[in-house]
Symmetry: C2
Subunit: 329 residues, 2 copies
Amino acid sequence: MTEPAFIAIDWGASQLKAFLCQPDGVQPKVLASASGPGVAAARGQFRVTLLEAVGDWLRQDPALVVYMAGHITSSLGWYQTRYLNTPCLPQALLPELVQGQCPDMALWLSTGLRCALPEGGHDVMRGEEVQLLGLLQLAPELRFGRRLVCLPGTHTKWVWLEDGQIRHFRTSMTGELYALLTQHSVLLQQAENSGDFCTESFIRGCQQMRGTAGLHWLHQLFTVRTEQLFSGLTPQQASAYLSGILVGADVQGWQVNEPCASEDCDVVLAGNSQLNFCYREALQLAGFKVRTFDITDATLAGFGWLAREQRCAGIVAAQVVSDGVCQLG
Amino acid sequence: MTEPAFIAIDWGASQLKAFLCQPDGVQPKVLASASGPGVAAARGQFRVTLLEAVGDWLRQDPALVVYMAGHITSSLGWYQTRYLNTPCLPQALLPELVQGQCPDMALWLSTGLRCALPEGGHDVMRGEEVQLLGLLQLAPELRFGRRLVCLPGTHTKWVWLEDGQIRHFRTSMTGELYALLTQHSVLLQQAENSGDFCTESFIRGCQQMRGTAGLHWLHQLFTVRTEQLFSGLTPQQASAYLSGILVGADVQGWQVNEPCASEDCDVVLAGNSQLNFCYREALQLAGFKVRTFDITDATLAGFGWLAREQRCAGIVAAQVVSDGVCQLG
């Protein structure tokens, strides 16, 4: 008998991604996919937004179980789930799944992760924990030894794994800052989403940030404008150059602040194809070897594992989040 | 016989500030003032926006001469004027004044300044050159020796003066980034413009950026969120903390990248009262002595000098910018 299909939802700050999945080994088969606005744009209309993305699938099969992770479970989201503290195995997410009290569907939510940073303070993730779980399914050899994982995105995560445990991680604002600066700043005046990506400009941006020059990043950012004024950079080249400044700064900053990061470590990189390309270039420039994975593969493998294991274990929700203890859209 | 009144306009990226001035020694007396949207918000409606600010004054006295400087004269503005190269004396702005072909008023525009940076590349200013001119009128002793000037704002300028000449300068995106992050980012969810400024949080932000920790600024920015989640920072405290991160990074970055900046130099700081407070705190934390000036005083002293000297010299425009060679709103 085939395992039942399920819905996997990765709802981040900037995008909702929904997948109708058919279990198929480690990597579920995607029968259909949909997207929608991220948490920031959907605020106040979470339920309607979700139903717009997955309503058709549920009408055809009301028994579909829905798994959801990401910023949507944060204090700024819809159903707020708690944080699991690191160090922890990503498999620990399974007994921590929380049922959302939702009239439209059987909805299961991932908890977030929280880590105490070596230098004091904390960091958090929501959504990436499922991706890390999936990565360890896709590449079981990553469950052994110390591993550096970079998950680039709106909020890039730099993660240390040790024998399959998530030890600690740091968030950087790379993707969000790129979006803010391309959409709202005087640095770039024209749309940049047409034509080919200018790798040469990207690499120039990375190089601009090497060494202590990177400490005056508030000034380096302004060179995106002056390079257009005086060096003939087109807006499209300027956006690649800005991307290089940000990704180069992220790689250098992480490398300097992370005493464990040395050049004999490979970095496991899991993003979309464009982000994988950019971070691989910047990491290689900084002397790292890089191994890449597609982030959607990792996400689906993570949700696939949760769906299968939950069904096998016959888990009943230990916690239910409802409109009594959380915001409902 | 009294000197005729004039209008001084500082039209930057984020705000238009207009002053009806009565000459009165170095520092003109302000008879009236008005404000309006900055260049970014006024694009396509420059003429209407300007007339909304100063139309009443011109109806009462059509002979008023209007002096204008700032981002409005840039490639993103209304009348585009050229750049004067550094090193130059700010007094060199006088013969470089350009007449705007405007049917509504006698309009004179300042040129911008451009400098070649020691490390390669260029930097630019538009508007601050008039403020520097004014500073040297307000404090003639600054015309001698090497002087460090910081003009904090949307685009903070760090300027080296040598015997009254502007040698070179660097722009940093401090104010613009603060505005982008408080208005559009997930870091801060609530308005922060109520109540008292939390100096303690500001200083914590500055300290967070000292040393190489500042190199991973993309991560440090994210602590604005985690400090709210786990250290009880209120949104208002968090905005002061973010301000500290940015101003602290600006001061440290400038200090590291500017080989001439040593702690036996005083820094001349000219901003509004809030920015003067913040930058003074951060500069003192970094070991600098600071002398402050009010930026409006400097702006008006600069325009006042130009108006008086132009009238005395009976200068006729060498250049006229019109709709043939520039954009007209």
